[in-house]
Amino acid sequence: MKKRKFRRIRTRRLNRSLGGDIFNLVIITIFGIFMVLPLIYAIMQAFKPLDEIYMFPPRFYVVNPTLDNFTDLFLLMAQSWVPFTRYIFNTLFITAVGTLGHVVIASMAAFVLEKHKFPGSKAFFTMVVISLMFSAAVTAIPNYLTMAKLGFLDTYLSLVVPAFGYSLGLFLMKQFMVTIPDSLLESARMDGAGEFRTFWRIAMPCVKPGWLTLIIFCFQSLWGQTGSTFIYSEELKTLPYALNQILLGGFARAGAGAAAILLIMIVPIVLFMATESSVIQTMATSGIKE
């Protein structure tokens, strides 16, 4: 590019007017409050004693915060038939293996679909995108039959293996692979890197924001899995399943229920915070350059 000689100009504030900046801030503040209020409410509920939960007229904030709801929740957990740590382990295991497998397998496929031209590559990708639009509610029955044939029923495999083949990850990764310059891959091959090395060492670092985003999506959907369709053994059931049972406990358990909602909500948010900072760090220092 010819215009490179102007590189040293500070860019951040170019093309920006003060009025526009203020407008941005106002809009973001208003909508930010709208977004965050229900979440703050969820947190408040978890710390309210029972008489405040059922107070009239309802009050948004908590006056006498208490940890009773959490102790109740843990007491209920301790009474459960299967040790509660087992549910936690199941969910963590399914989430970790499913996410890792999906990110690697989908990225490999996305890499060749975008960067190699071969017969059938376009058609395959179209099929993946279109498949996103079919209701999962009806494919559940044929899926159940397939799982039965493969012997996946009532094992971790029934949740983990289908996760490897989610359409979302391939679609997302392919869209990010578009931004990798071909010349970069070409020079790696010239230097004698095999195709897998080129993929793993050159392409993947370039699309780091892509797969970090994918980890978040994948974690989120697996974390919420109740697995009730394919798994019947109590000792293989997941955490959301167990917490939902507590939520169904009715009025007396409203406190423990609120604590359970907070627990389910907080873990993906914490993971998101951890991943997010590294996305922003990598991107602040380097864009993809030719």
């Binding site: 093309n15 007017s17 965050v36 007229p57 496929a109 990010f176 993906p268 900072s277």
Partner: protein
């Protein structure tokens, strides 16, 4: 094998054989590509393609899970459009919901991602978290049932009554007049999801030097910069976001069940996916449910085509 035929080149070789050997040669030539694709393709075909094909086939049958499916041609589709009034109500609701929450959610995702991207990194990280949190945190939307609860315990009612705007509590979730609006608010609250995050990541991947080049080329304000540099650079993410918002806005169902119940009063919040779940999981009429899914599928593909064509015009 392929190379042997290639060498001999018999004169009588038919077109088909030519094609087949060509295909064989292609597979050998691109074996690395196919090897990369294979693990994904295998799982994807087993757990997505085959079930979809089976479902489409089932839509032409009567199938109640207990007995084997009986083929009955277009019967399900005829019943769907001519004999099922509730389906037509569901179609109307789904279109209203999709037409409003889809585009607004998509544009809001883009707008907030872009606004937030202007801010310093620390603030940016915090705001991304706030805007994205509602869609990541599982079924927290249950909270909204308390906000819009129909008695004076509900926050919306008690606030409005305190301010003297209304004197009687409004039945937000059971009065057909308000149901859809409330659901739209909740859906929009959760709409900064997958697309939003992809936009944030896409915006951060744009090479800064392009903006400098843009100034030299005479770009004067942030709107021109957005249209001529930013958006064309993140076209892949725009396409991704569009597909995501189409699939999610046509498939709204969990929120309506949680807020308005199933079935909702007068079917005022009944969506196509609600209808499908009703037939598939409650009445076990899988053939009919599959027909509903197929109709929805075709609608979404058509919608996607239109949106992708619109997106091609970005930056021109």
């Amino acid at each position: 094998m392929a190379t042997v035929i290639e060498k001999v080149k018999p004169a009588y070789k038919s077109r088909l054989v030519d094609r087949m050997t060509g295909l064989g040669r292609d597979i050998v030539k691109h074996r690395v590509s196919y090897a990369f694709l294979a693990p994904y393709a295998l799982i994807f075909i087993t757990f997505t393609v085959i079930p979809v094909i089976i479902s489409i086939y089932l839509s032409f049958t009567y199938y109640n899970i207990l007995e084997p499916p009986k083929f009955q041609g277009l019967q399900n589709y005829i019943k769907l459009f001519l004999g099922d009034d509730i389906f037509l109500v569901a179609v109307k609701n789904t279109f209203v919901l999709a037409a409003i929450t889809g585009p607004i959610g998509y544009l809001a995702s883009l707008m907030f991602a872009w606004f937030i991207n202007e801010l310093p990194p620390k603030v940016r990280a915090f705001l991304i978290l706030i805007f994205y949190a509602p869609s990541i945190s599982g079924n927290v939307y249950m909270i909204w049932t308390v906000m819009f609860s129909g008695d004076s315990y509900g926050y919306m009612n008690s606030t409005l009554m305190k301010l003297g705007i209304i004197y009687e509590p409004i039945q937000w979730l059971t009065d057909p007049k308000y149901m859809l609006t409330v659901i739209m608010i909740v859906v929009l609250w959760m709409s900064l999801g997958t697309g939003f995050l992809a936009f944030v990541a896409g915006l951060q991947g744009i090479d800064r030097s392009q903006y400098e080049a843009g100034i030299v080329d005479g770009i004067k304000n942030r709107w021109q910069e957005l249209w001529y540099i930013t958006l064309p650079n993140m076209k892949p993410m725009l396409m991704f976001g569009a597909v995501m918002s189409i699939t999610s806005s046509f498939a709204i169902s969990d929120v309506t069940i949680a807020l308005a119940g199933m079935p909702s009063v007068d079917y005022a919040a009944h969506t196509v996916v609600n209808h499908l779940i009703d037939y598939g999981s409650t009445r076990f009429e899988m053939g009919y449910a599959s027909a509903i899914a197929t109709v929805l599928f075709i609608t979404m593909i058509g919608c996607n085509k239109i949106v992708q064509n619109l997106l091609r015009k970005v930056g021109r």
